[in-house]
Symmetry: C2
Subunit: 280 residues, 2 copies
């Protein structure tokens, strides 16, 4: 084992980064193997995906904490808007899973534009209405709901929030302490108004996701870059996030079907630690 110092305890692994359990990519590690490997490297936390948890939420959450880490989050609610929007009960079940894990934050990718609407404003209003309905369920279980704006290329069928400003606008509509925003480098790196927007986000930032935008992105969903390999100004974004009062973990989330998902998971975890210390 390499001797990394402990100053990367702010680092959390999003398990999708290892590609496991997704379309056969990665090593197919169990949650326990991921927990042990992260703990051995001094990671501060882990973010899981629902399909990895099943009915083992309490067991997995306890195991993470016994290893000295946090369950930094859970990905994610089913869609709330668009043609694939889920029922309130399905949304609430994902909140219950987050509570079972002891995850403080549940990420929301909203879903796309609502049927028979044009543009995104109507869908954002619909999103706010749905959040107002489920907000009490989240509050009762002490689960923060983090709205994650996506790169505008995912508008249409995946999101109705394209910018951090959009997400904050919806927060304003709902006005709940349990609803905030997650900032993901992949989705916001290009936004020249980001620092200015984040100045208005104090107390509402609930997640910060790390990766990089490759100059030549070959696949819009599955070709994210390792920090330092792309063109995002990672240090400036992190400063803006921290200036807005964010003090949570920095979550690495690299979807990379043709590169990092094909490498040994232990090697990938080591590289993240190195890059986090040198580039983030």
């Amino acid at each position: 084992m390499r001797d990394f110092s402990n100053d990367h305890s702010a680092l959390a692994l999003n398990t999708a980064t290892l590609g496991h359990n997704i379309d056969g990519h990665g090593a197919g590690w169990s949650p326990e193997q991921v927990i042990d490997a992260c703990a051995a490297r001094g990671y501060g936390g882990i973010v899981f995906w629902r399909h990895e948890i099943g009915d083992r939420a309490i067991e997995i959450g306890d195991r993470v904490r016994a290893a000295g880490m946090q369950v930094a989050g859970l990905c994610r609610t089913p869609f709330l808007t668009g043609r694939d929007a889920a029922s309130n009960n399905e949304i609430k079940a994902s909140i219950d899973m987050a509570a079972g894990l002891g995850a403080g934050v549940l990420t929301i990718v909203t879903g796309g534009t609502d049927p028979n609407t044009k543009g995104v404003l109507d869908s954002q209003k619909r999103l706010a209405e749905r959040l107002s309905v489920i907000e009490q369920h989240a509050a009762d279980r002490q689960i923060k709901l983090a709205l994650e704006p996506l790169n505008p290329m995912f508008g249409g069928n995946r999101t109705c929030l394209m910018t951090t400003r959009d997400a904050l606008n919806v927060c304003d509509l709902v006005a709940s302490d349990w609803i905030g925003v997650a900032v993901d480098v992949y989705h916001v790196w290009w936004d020249t108004t980001l620092a200015q927007t984040l100045e208005t986000a104090t107390g509402r930032l609930m997640g910060y996701h790390l990766c990089d935008w490759l100059e030549d992105t070959s696949d819009m969903l599955l070709d994210r870059g390792m920090m330092g390999d792309g063109v995002a100004d990672l240090k400036a974004i992190r400063k803006a996030v921290e200036d807005a009062g964010y003090s949570g973990l920095c979550e690495v989330e690299v979807f990379s079907s043709e590169n990092w998902w094909k490498r040994p998971p232990g090697e990938v975890l080591d590289v993240f630690v190195e890059r986090f210390r040198s580039h983030c």
Copy 2:
């Protein structure tokens, strides 16, 4: 020939929409065939691409005007930023071609992030510096240079301008009457600040490009939608553009390798007229 009324004289065809001369798509119509087909349908103008013009700029421009239409624009300068940035002479040659055609507007897709930079602000400054150098050449030839922001998914290797706000910021840096902005539905439809931004763009809008964003966009470059088939709020965007004082033509620009490029060009031109009248 169908009997369309003349209220679509605000419509211009961007020739890429017929897919001709691009990777073997389309019918391979000559500029003369395009001119005749557009004139027969009452189009107000045509926008060509450089590779179609060669050394025939004056001849083709005259032919368009003889058919009662305008050369509404030329696509486009070589890149000004990023690793594939062209020389000043190459940029000036494209301005000369636009002048030969009698095209009032030359579109600029900027090129990507400059080598050894992070984020987009340094590249935007570099873009402004380059524009300052070539601006007089454009002024001498009475050619307006229209900065076209691209959807953020094209950040990295194609553009350093992701929003209309970005493009206007660069206009401010250069401060030339010959440099403005082109608004393309495909690139800006998602921007909830667009109308507000355009309020500050009076006198600087030099182009308006029409298509639609399909809910399920299968290819980020070549799966643009026909107006009305997607989720963009076309009427709201046009209103914002016209409220900003834009009185030029509405240019249809639909890259669609698997759908519209495979149809007979005359049919495609007819559908554009219908959709322009009903959906735009």
